[in-house]
Symmetry: C2
Amino acid sequence: MTESNLLPDTRTRLIAAGLHLFGRGGFDGTSTRELARRAETNVASIAYHFGGKAGLRQACAESIAHRVSSRMSLADADALPQDPQAALSEIEDTLRQFATMLYSAPEAEDFVPFLLRELTEPGEIAELIFTRLLLPRHVRLCRLWALATGRPAEADAVKLAVFAAIGQLLYFRIARPLVTRRMNWPGIGPDETAQITETVIANLRAAIERSRT
Amino acid sequence: MTESNLLPDTRTRLIAAGLHLFGRGGFDGTSTRELARRAETNVASIAYHFGGKAGLRQACAESIAHRVSSRMSLADADALPQDPQAALSEIEDTLRQFATMLYSAPEAEDFVPFLLRELTEPGEIAELIFTRLLLPRHVRLCRLWALATGRPAEADAVKLAVFAAIGQLLYFRIARPLVTRRMNWPGIGPDETAQITETVIANLRAAIERSRT
DNA sequence: CAGTATTATTCAAACGTTTGATTGAATCAA
DNA sequence: TTGATTCAATCAAACGTTTGAATAATACTG
């Protein structure tokens, strides 16, 4: 106790290094020596704390799962809004939260690239991220969508529409270099984030309107 | 002359191997020995024909650029449709072509993963793919969008809306394992492709309708 | 047209480096 | 002292690349 040290745990530092380096260079593109250097520790610590490089990768994913869970809490599953307008509002709020996390939350900056990279290539990590983070939110969004449009919550069309809405946000982040190039943006700051978010929200409203009639 | 050999060029075989292996395992995750084995040649051929592993990667990208150009030709830039309805139709056609290539074209199957992987990580290759393949089509789609909605073609909102439309298609392909899991699909066949495409087209129509008013 | 010189391509083998992992000693806190 | 943790040093394996000889294709010459 009473940690007067300036540095966090070796364990914690290694996970931070993993998120950063795996997210940028990929798992194969990152060496254990790089990881150790960035975490300011010895290579052997990786094996000691995580059993190996693959174990560190897993620990990075679990670290994200925890942090995202705390930052984007699921609304109580039993408490669904009643009128369509309230359902739509909650969908919009969820997307906005998601966008904030993806584009401009400083504390998410180091793990979002890791998350996206793992999501784009199938494997155990993608599995974990999907079941723990994405799936429960997808299910709830489908229920909300159903409330907002009057369609059955588990209809294929509803599920796909929700995927499409989330997909737009994820895509803008994945293709960020392409988007900034085409838009002649210096980067994605608060203004640009707002523009993207409003585009997606506008698409959402249009889709729901059309689906309702 | 009179090639009675069963195999294509070593050069050609190496590019095919590169598209396949880089697309699945990534650049760092693929060794020159794997590449040579799959191309049924010697490792030294990589250096001989492409200067090295990185050169093969580049050649793979250029091969894609050629193949996509021939399969998805750009309509003549000077021949824009005149009425909004025709413009909308051409946008829809373009998206459908794109979807076919991404999801179900057999001859695209081996290079689509390569293309997506390179697009998701910034670099020289992504640059080439973007400027040669994506950008010209994006520009034309913006013009068509402008015609269909009456808005200025180079308005930020138009560019972003086009990105959002393309992004949906790309995302469904990138996140294919996730989508099939959630939908309880065995895979993405013609039926599933149609469902996805219709979802995106429906979103497109809704967005354009709303943008027009 | 035959025979030779020239070039292009492929090959097995080896190069030096880097990889992830492991070792046993050193260091630390309790 | 004890158990947990970190360390420098080392390991075999795999890495991308290079080598020089062998082979195949092409051009030249008499």
